[in-house]
Structures are given as structure tokens and as C-alpha cells.
Symmetry: C2
């Protein structure tokens, strides 16, 4: 390929940017901070959406759609969050353009809105304002609603998929009659996210709780899944918030309980975004390009014909069509790359760059022998196998690739969790090894903040499986009951 | 049900609003001009999306995502459209809020954008600005891209689904190396829309071309499908535009042709929106509520148990689970309404209101006889059928209902096309019969405009199958070569 390749070991960040560009996943738009998700990148998002949507529905959720624009005053109702909420928002102030005397398009000064409207940075406010009309009695509960939408947070320093002003996501917003039920929901969705990350994205995650500093402003408790990228940095891949009665109080949403009492409704919200595409890239890909787990690959198998004569091409195509049909019958997505404009070598490199999990090469000699050549994208292993039974073989191999990608990431992640017991060790590991640091912390926001200032490492989470043990804070030396996970993060 | 019911014959418009509300499809948001699409309404949209998306992909299209916000200057590039384009747009002027000294949230005056950004009313501008970077040679063509997105056009008088400031839609934007290819694409997508409208929505449509007055500002030719609602008004259900080289010229998108010449790219765009849900409601529903064609019904069959004792309920439930499993195996979506909070009569009325095509009632006597009672939503016919073979029977019945709904709408539509040859007749038919008026027109925008002013009727389209015949304009008496279709429209 004519693409400039950058190695991960040389410049991880440039490697990432190059890969996103060369694999045709996305690009920066001519609108500050925004991205264009190109068809191949969007196809990955569609696979993610389809699977997540299925999992949401299996757990009893339905989809709905709420307005893009939120009146400014709604944010004021979130009293508690007035200081904490994200203020970097796009603000709509006018509703009309006009053509002036010089045939220039200008904003019509007479079309100024009485109240400014904010493009949703997240939808709790507009949704809880709506739920007020939907909930009167315990019979109306629970509400288990999800929304697929675009949201906007004005970002100054952007990175394709990882941090852009506009991004796509899903946001679940549920309403419950009791605190217990809402907490069960919060944890259930965390499990759904972890299941998706591990079994579809092939990315092992640590499930945990955020510290107060890192918690969503409107939440009582924020749960998260944290993944580890190949450069040793952590990436928050999804959050699930137990919102208590905060939004019900802000928007005055009460219900009559079974006992006839009027009570505030309990809430959760949870979301994952196109950021997951960034995680997918950074967790598995290599210097040759993208490595996609079969469960999320838009194309799972690409077939490349190798031929000199038209006659050979026709023979190969006949055999390929047969193989393709068999594979598709098993639910495998197959592309036959029969372009006559490019040589096989070019095609091999292109599909490698695009991370197609399995390549089938087939030439006249193969046809004679009744075989094809298989090439795995993840390990680059090649094997020659019989055309007979190829469908079952490929299906098994795709499962093996899925597992193998996960295992590789798991081994890397597990060897990157470092137990650390002194400040010197902390700094040394952070600088020389990266990854997660498991260390005692005194539980104060001050210490957390100082560590962040000094090292850029943040507390990613208090892992759910973290054992209680007496220790002393790695920074302040004060007593601690539990280790937490630090890391530099995206 | 405790709902207030309005008859179509009493007040069609109120009947519509009531139905949308009572069937839980959508509601007005507390944001001017915007709607909340409730789960049941959104489920219909999901069915529409799934089918359309499949048809787009079958015709070679892929999805992508382009930014929500468009710099104002982009609109100026559409020189030709400067006068014609929709100016009622939401304008973003600031990118930050702040909390002032009184703890009030205000727009930060220091965060004013240098250039205002417009929330997309449609995406030609941003997409053609992007295509410029994607197209160099004929080898890069065609680009066959679709986007599922929200768009915004500031509307003063809104109607749920039919006309709201924000709505959901898909917009296809394709780029071609020749005029011929682009025209074929434009027509192909019109056929896809007509196929969808007729075979999935059950709404017969007239395919035609818009007059210059009604044409999309940036288009050379606008094709449309027009449906007829039960009140005799027409509804534009989808448009497909041949854009010529207008956008390529506005955004300077050229390609090197096979012959090595630099040429402007040819374009199409096409879209349908959540407006189709409004069309679906208005085309088929009756005074009892929604009537959904099986092909787009989120729930195709509802099963209601009729019992007195817990013992009976358990027996019925066992039989129902078996029936449900069999139906689901055939791809039928089934809901077992086993709520113990409501009586069968209430449930019957609720599912009628929500338009579920087929209801199965089953009581202890039915069990003894090995039968169930089927009730069709569309004709309200009931029949008692054997449980044995129920799955095949239901599947056939659903197909019959789909056909029957279409036929009913077709008969109504066909009896509502009136050939008219004088201005008196024109006014009489319009006032007393409604529907489409097929009349000669002199081809001038002035006549079209005058007729609109006098009668509110517009030229819906010049039907593709309209024969050439000599005649005189129904209004001006000038010569005409072809009849066109007039109607009052939504």
C-alpha cells in the first residue's frame, strides 16, 4: 500500500491517527471539533449498536427519542449540579437566517430566542422533565428506556473517536420505585457493558466504582468499566450511574407507592459511545493496521482470487461463489474481492490494514488440489485447508480468533496491573511500565488531586472485587482500608 | 378505555391528535416545536428503519455519519440556492455556559463563535464539502452513502410526526461520474420508496415529478411519492432529487474521467422521515384507534387470556406459551398480555387502540375444544380456529391483513382521483370531494401560484405515467400537453 506507516513503538499517538485515517474509519470535519465517521468506521458502529441494542432489549428496555435541544432553565433545576455540570455546550440563540442587501447570509437579529437552547450534552434534564408527565403511580414503574442519539460537548483538544465535540452514543434512563431496584439496574447495565466489552470487543475490563472527584455530577454512585490500551494507558469504556432521587427532586417527579405514599422516583442512567471504536482500535491493532475481533468485524472473511487468465478467474469465481454461499448460510459475512484493478498483494495489504479477521486466497493450483489458503489477521498464521468442509472450519476458526484476541489482551492487561507500596515505586512504575497501579489511598479528594497534578495519573476506579485490607496511603502515609487502581488515562 | 374518542367524521385533525396521544406514540416536548417519540411510536420507526436500511443496502448503499453543525459560510457557497434555501434554522452562536454571581446559569459572553454554526436542516452542504476530499478520479465513483440522523427546521405551526422542528430521517447522498448514472440512481431510490410505501406501509402512492415551484432549491429535478390520507388530503411521503452538478460546482468537487478530463461530479439526494409514521396513521386508522399493517407492527399478535381461576390461568398460560413459541419460530412477533391488573375487555380495547393486527383470545372453554378466537384489527372479523396448525394459519392471516389493508387504501385512493376539465368543476370537486384532481395546467408558475392562493390546492406532481394529450389549462385556458395532479396537502 502507498500509505505511510507508523509503528506503535515509535509514536503511539501518531500510529493511532494514521490507522484511523488509512483504514478509512473517520476524519476530522471542517467543523471545529467534529468528525465524519466514514462508511467502514460506521459499519463497526452498526455492529456494536446491533449487539448492544439486542442486549438492552433482552434486559427489558425499549427505545425512544427525546429532543436535541434543552432549554437553559432546565439546567438550573439541577441545583446540586449547577457547579458540577459540563458547561462547554453549544448554545442556540437564534432561529432564522436571512439574505442581506449584499446577498450575504446573516443571522436574522430579529429571530432571537427568548430563552437559549442547549444542544444536549446528555439528556437527564429533558428526559426527567418528560418523565414527570409519565409517572403518577407505582404502576407506571419501572420505566426502562434507552435512546440512540448524538450529543455535543465543546472540546478544545480532540482525538478521533476518543474525544470529539459531537459524538454518537446510547443513553439509558430508567425510573424505579425503590432505591434497591435502581441499584440492581445500575449494576445490571454495568454487567451488560462488561459482557459486551469482553465477549464482543475482546477487551477485558475492570469493573469498579468512581471516586467522588470522578463521579458524574448528578450521580450518587458512578460505576464504570475500564480497559487498558497497548500503550499502558487506561480508557473508560462505559459508565452506569445510580442517580438516587436527584433528578426526581430537580424535576419534581413523584409517584404514589403501593402503600399510598407520595415518594420521589429513583433513577439510573448509563451510556457508551463511539469512543468504543477508539478502544477497539487501541486494544488490538498492530503496526500493519487494524485487528478486528470477528464478532464486530463488518467483513469477517475476505476472499482474494489469484489468477493470470480470464479462464482461471472464471473457474475461481465459480468455486468462490459456492464457498461464499456456504459461509453466509452459517451467518459469516464474506466479501469476494474480485476487483480487476488491483493485484493480490495490494489486496492482501489493504484487508490487513482494514483488519478483516480471515483471508482466503485461492488460485488455479488450489482449485486443482481442492484447497484454499487461509491467513489469520491476528497471528498472521497461514494454513492450507480443504475446500470440503471449509464452512465449518472457518466458523470454528473465527471463534478461535475471537478467543485468541481476547486472551492476548487479557494477558497483557493482567501483566500490567502492578501492586505498588511506596511513592517512589509508584512514580517509577508509572514512568517506566505504565498500566494500572494498585495502591492504597487515604480516601481524600486532596490526595487524589495532588497525585493527579504530580503524575497525571488518576484513580480509574475502586474495583468491585477489591478486598478490604489495612494499609497506608502510597502518597500521604495515612491509613487506608482498600487498594484502588491508578493509571494515566485517555 | 377511559380515553376520550373523537370520530374522523367529526374532526379529522382532532381525531389524529387524540390517536397519537392515546396510542402512546408521541407527545409535544417542552421545547418549542419539538416532539418526544414515545417507545411505542419509536418501535414503529425502528421497524421502518430496519426495512429501509435493508433495501438501501441491497441497492449497494452504505451508512456513514456527518456533523450535526454546518458553518454558515457553507450555505453561501450554494450560490444558486441562496434565495431558495430554508432559512428557518437553529443557529449556534456560543459554546459555553457559566454560573454567574447569583448562581444563575448564563451564556458566557466570552464564548462567542467566530462563525455561527447551523444545525443541519439537510446535509448536502456538509457532505459535498466532505466529498471534495474523497473524490479525485472516476475510480472513486460512485459514492453511495446514506445517513440516519436528526435534522432541524424551525417550524411555527407544528403537528406531531407531520411537521416538527426536529425530526428523524435518512438522507442518501450519492456521487456519480455521469448524468445518466445519477438519474438512474434518483429513479431507483424513488422505486425503493414506492416499494416500501406500498408493500410495507400498505399505502398506495403516485410517483411523479415536482414542478419548479415545488422543487428542492438545489435540485435539477425532484421526484416524489404522494399518498392520499383518509380526509382526502395528499401527503408527500418521500423525495428523490437529481442534483445535477449544482453541489459539485458549489463545493468544487471534480473528478478525472476515464478519458482523463476534469469534470464536475453528478449528484443525487433522497430522504424519508418520521413523517411516514403520520402517513401510516392517517392512511389506515379508524375511530377505534390505530390500524397497523403487519409488516410494520411492533407487535403483530397479542394473546389475551380469559379466566376466572388461577388454575385456569395456569392451564391457559401453558397453551399460550406453546402457541407463542410456534409463532415466533415463524418470525411472528407475539405479546402475551398476562397482566392481572386489567380485565379482558380493557385489554381488547387497548390493543385495538394500539393497532395490533391480530388478537388471540383464549379461555377455558377454548382449551377444552382445542380452539382459540381470532380477531382481526382491520375488519374486526372474528373466527374460531383450531389450535392445531394455528401458526401457519396466523401467518397466512397476517399476509391477508397486509394485502387487505393495502387494497382498501388503494380502492379509496383510486376512487379519489377526479378528472376535471373546468375551473368550476375544479373548485366543486376540491370543496365537496377532496382527493386528487387530475387537470390540465399551462405549465407556468404564475398559474400554479394563483390556484394555490385561491384554493390552497398545490400541484402534488406530474405523474410519471401521465400520458401526453392536448388540452387547455383548467385555470388560464391556455394550451397544455399533459394532466397534472392537484390536491390540498399536509
Amino acid at each position: 500500500m502507498a500509505f505511510e506507516k507508523v509503528k506503535r513503538s515509535d509514536n503511539y499517538s501518531e500510529w493511532y491517527n494514521n490507522l484511523v485515517k488509512n483504514a478509512d474509519l473517520a476524519e476530522h470535519a471542517d467543523v471545529k471539533g467534529c468528525m465524519v465517521i466514514k462508511p467502514y468506521g460506521y459499519a463497526i458502529w452498526e455492529k456494536m449498536q446491533a449487539q448492544l441494542d439486542k442486549m438492552f432489549k433482552q434486559t427489558g428496555h425499549v427505545n425512544a427519542y427525546f429532543p436535541l435541544l434543552i432549554p437553559k432553565s432546565f439546567f438550573e433545576k439541577e441545583e446540586k449540579n449547577a457547579e458540577g455540570f459540563a458547561k462547554e455546550c453549544a448554545v442556540v440563540t437564534h432561529y432564522r437566517l436571512k439574505v442581506d442587501e449584499n446577498r450575504k447570509i446573516i443571522v436574522d437579529p430579529e429571530a432571537k430566542l427568548e430563552e437559549e437552547l442547549i444542544i444536549r450534552p446528555t439528556s437527564e434534564a429533558i428526559i426527567w422533565n418528560t418523565y414527570k408527565g409519565w409517572i403518577q403511580s407505582y404502576r407506571d414503574l419501572p420505566l426502562l428506556i434507552n435512546q440512540w442519539a448524538n450529543v455535543m460537548r465543546w472540546e478544545m483538544r480532540t482525538r478521533l473517536f476518543l474525544r470529539t465535540s459531537e459524538f454518537l452514543w446510547q443513553e439509558g434512563h430508567t425510573a424505579h420505585a425503590s432505591s434497591e431496584e435502581a441499584i440492581i439496574e445500575t449494576k445490571q447495565m454495568l454487567e451488560v457493558y462488561a459482557d459486551f466489552a469482553e465477549n464482543f470487543m475482546g477487551v477485558p475490563v475492570i469493573k469498579g466504582v468512581k471516586t467522588e472527584n470522578e463521579r458524574f455530577a448528578g450521580a450518587v454512585e458512578t460505576y464504570c468499566i475500564e480497559g487498558l490500551m497497548q500503550d499502558g494507558k487506561a480508557l473508560q469504556m462505559g459508565t452506569s450511574h445510580f442517580l438516587g432521587q436527584n433528578f426526581a427532586k430537580a424535576f419534581d417527579v413523584k409517584f404514589q407507592s403501593k402503600e399510598g405514599k407520595l415518594e420521589y422516583v429513583w433513577a439510573t442512567s448509563w451510556g457508551v459511545s463511539t469512543r468504543l471504536i477508539g478502544a477497539l482500535i487501541m486494544a488490538h491493532s498492530d503496526d500493519e493496521g487494524l485487528v478486528l475481533p470477528p464478532n464486530l468485524a463488518p467483513i469477517q472473511v475476505v476472499i482474494v482470487p489469484i489468477y493470470r487468465s480470464d479462464e482461471d478467474f472464471d473457474k475461481i469465481s465459480m468455486a468462490v461463489n459456492d464457498i461464499k454461499k456456504k459461509l453466509e448460510f452459517l451467518g459469516v459475512s464474506v466479501k469476494y474481492d474480485n476487483r480487476d484493478t488491483h493485484k493480490p498483494g495490494y489486496k492482501f495489504a489493504e484487508w490487513e490494514l482494514k483488519g478483516v479477521p480471515l483471508r482466503i486466497g485461492i488460485g488455479p493450483r488450489d482449485l486443482e488440489n481442492g484447497t484454499v489458503e487461509l491467513a489469520r489477521r491476528d497471528t498472521k498464521e497461514k494454513s492450507v485447508v480443504s475446500i470440503e468442509g471449509i464452512d465449518q472450519h472457518v466458523k470454528q476458526l473465527l471463534e478461535e480468533i475471537q478467543n485468541s484476541i481476547y486472551k492476548k489482551a487479557f494477558t497483557f492487561r493482567d501483566s500490567s496491573i502492578h501492586e505498588v507500596n511506596s511513592w517512589e515505586e509508584f512514580k517509577d512504575v508509572l514512568e517506566n511500565k505504565g498500566g494500572f497501579i494498585s495502591a492504597h489511598w487515604d480516601g481524600t479528594g486532596e490526595t487524589e488531586e495532588k497525585i493527579k497534578e504530580l503524575t497525571k495519573a488518576t484513580i480509574r476506579c475502586i474495583p468491585l472485587d477489591s478486598k478490604l485490607e489495612d494499609g497506608t496511603c502510597v502518597f500521604s502515609g495515612k491509613p487506608s482500608k482498600q487498594r484502588v487502581l491508578f493509571a494515566k488515562a485517555y
